[in-house]
């Protein structure tokens, strides 16, 4: 009986032209202005506005002249756009005895950032690689100790490190600060790399060993080319962390000549002589924040991919 039924339907489908269907068919229609949509997008808009407002005020103020600022309307767009505050912030603003603006701090920060970045990422990636792929006796204990390091508040270690740096003759110098940044960046970055590398299939590592590749060869030829996203994540974390650092800079640098940009910004903004130049302060702040901002914009996409990959597999 069943056979007959199947035969009949097949025949019908062959012969009959497209049928007119009554009732709902095809994709369900969506309304653009439903109540749900208005609430969702409305909330998003208000929150975004709330978040973006301070940035707007800063940009607008930094483009105004002092007389205009003194009139009071902080939300009003500049009547006359001037870039003078930016120039002044970069090359003329005074901090104590120096009057060559933020540029000095900028180059100090660059000189701190570049070596810290390279050394800390190099060490952390190799650490993570060794801890995930070449497990040795006690490697888990070693990793746990490293992790404890990540959770000790910085303040506890501030003074002991001053003494240690003084003893090795690095206190007050840029190299001393680089050393501190490398040490403090290591636990979190090691964790990051280890978890990412742990998600690489073990068989790949075995295959490379059968192919005669050693510790460094596997790292540089197999693992590193596969791990670009996590290197970008580490790069972003380190750039923002080191660039925005204030505490270490003010503690371990002894001379205003060598202060990083953040410390110098603080000194400009807090200088008590004369009139407070809000426009210069705003411009100086924006200039200081520019480096991490650029890094975010350039590598944001890779950053998200790296974080997501770590979250799913790690």
């Amino acid at each position: 009986m069943a056979d007959v039924g199947i035969l009949a339907t097949t025949k019908a489908a062959e012969q009959v032209a497209p049928r007119a269907l009554a009732g709902p068919s095809g994709p369900r229609p969506k309304r653009r202005f439903s109540r749900g949509n208005i609430i969702v997008y409305g909330t998003l808009f208000i929150v975004a506005l709330y978040y973006a407002l301070p940035l707007y005020v800063m940009i607008v103020t930094s483009l105004k002249g002092m007389p205009e600022i003194q009139m009071g309307n902080i939300f009003a767009p500049p009547m006359e756009i001037t870039f003078e505050p930016w120039v002044k912030a970069w090359s003329e603003a005074c901090t104590g005895i120096n009057c060559d603006g933020l540029s000095r701090g900028f180059w100090n920060s660059v000189n701190i950032l570049i070596p810290s970045l390279i050394i800390s990422i190099a060490i952390a990636s190799i650490n993570g690689y060794a801890l995930s792929m070449w497990k040795f006796k006690g490697s888990e204990v070693f990793f746990s100790i490293l992790m404890i390091g990540a959770f000790i508040p910085y303040q506890v270690m501030l003074y002991p490190i001053v003494i240690m740096l003084r003893e090795v003759g690095l206190y007050g110098s840029l190299s001393g600060l680089v050393l501190v940044h490398v040490a403090f960046g290591m636990p979190i970055n090691t964790l990051l790399f280890r978890n990412y590398f742990a998600s690489i299939p073990e068989e790949l590592f075995k295959a490379a060993r059968v192919d005669g590749a050693g510790f460094w060869s596997i790292f540089f030829r197999i693992i590193m080319p596969m791990s670009l996203p996590i290197f970008v994540v580490a790069l972003i974390i380190q750039v923002t962390g080191i660039w925005n650092d204030f505490l270490f800079g003010v503690t371990y640098i002894s001379s205003p000549d060598r202060y990083p940009m953040t410390v110098q910004l603080n000194n400009i903004v807090n200088s008590v002589q004369g009139v407070k130049e809000y426009n210069v302060n705003m411009a100086a702040t924006l200039l200081t924040g520019l480096v991490p901002l650029v890094i975010y914009f350039v590598s944001g996409k890779l950053f998200v991919r790296g974080i997501a990959a770590g979250a799913v597999k790690g």
């Binding site: 068989e203 075995k206 295959a207 060993r209 059968v210 192919d211 005669g212 590749a213 030829r221």
Partner: protein, 359 residues
Amino acid sequence: MINSVEIKNLDLEFGAVKVLQDLNLDIHKGEFLVLLGSSGCGKSTLLNCIAGLLDVSDGQIWIEGKNVTWEAPSDRGIGMVFQSYALYPQMTVKGNLSFGLKNAKMPKAEIEKRVQRAADVLQIHPLLDRKPGALSGGQRQRVAIGRALVRDVDVFLFDEPLSNLDAKLRADLRVELKRLHQQLENTMIYVTHDQIEAMTLADRIAIMKGGSIMQLGSPDEIYNRPQNLYVADFIGSPSMNFIEGDFDGASFKSGDMNMEMVGYSYAGSTPDACKATIGIRPEHVITGELAAGAPQKFTTMVDLVEPMGSDTLVYATLDGKMFRIRMDGQAKVAPGQSLPIGIDPSRASLFDTKTERRL
């Protein structure tokens, strides 16, 4: 006969867990040996020990007459193919094939020659400049085999190489692997949990359980003369029917059933009376018109019928217990029907119930 791989008194322990125990295995030159077992039996571990990817706790491994127990994987003269292919994703197929040779500091011309030869054998010429991400599963596995091939080694190790492929592709690649073995005549050690792969590919099969080898023999021996209950139960699908009873020195009795063991060839001399288990493969049950002429005749009741096209699997009751019978695909059977069957004792297997060994 020269042995290609010799495993001598091998032990492997992870902490307190003994994964391999006092394992001895000689693999002949040019032999295709399959290590077969369910998951966790230690077959992959053994393969990793042979490859040198795991350090052994005790014992020795010899490859081509050389003690390689302490050698690095790349110095052992082996090539390995993994289940997940393990191709280097950022390199082209050509880069994958030549990576090991570059590490061995081989001259460029020789590398090129070997890559071309492997590509010829595996017919992967059009794929050489592609990256693994742009290949299908079967193509990837072929490249993985090629990576072992270019090393020009004596021993190939396969770790479940076909398990990630779909059924049809698996069957195709199985045939190709067999052809490759006939062509190259290398020693191949192949780990799988798939008994069809084991039966079709192997010269000899080693069935493993709990870190030791239960039986080592040709597929024919393993199938027809399993040495113990575990092997008898493991090999064959649907699996063997087992009936427990008593053996009195000449016939097997269980309940109302009495089977004279005429024509059965015992493992040693005819054993004494003991508790015994008889094993009969569903496909060795004689049905239809031939049943009347069989040496031993019984009647069963049909409970359930599974038609599979090529043949029909019948679940019947014999002496109050379930009994599987494989019949011709065209056979007409229905549940509730009584089905006369015949059994030939010469094709059955008799085991001592206590020791689980073949009688």
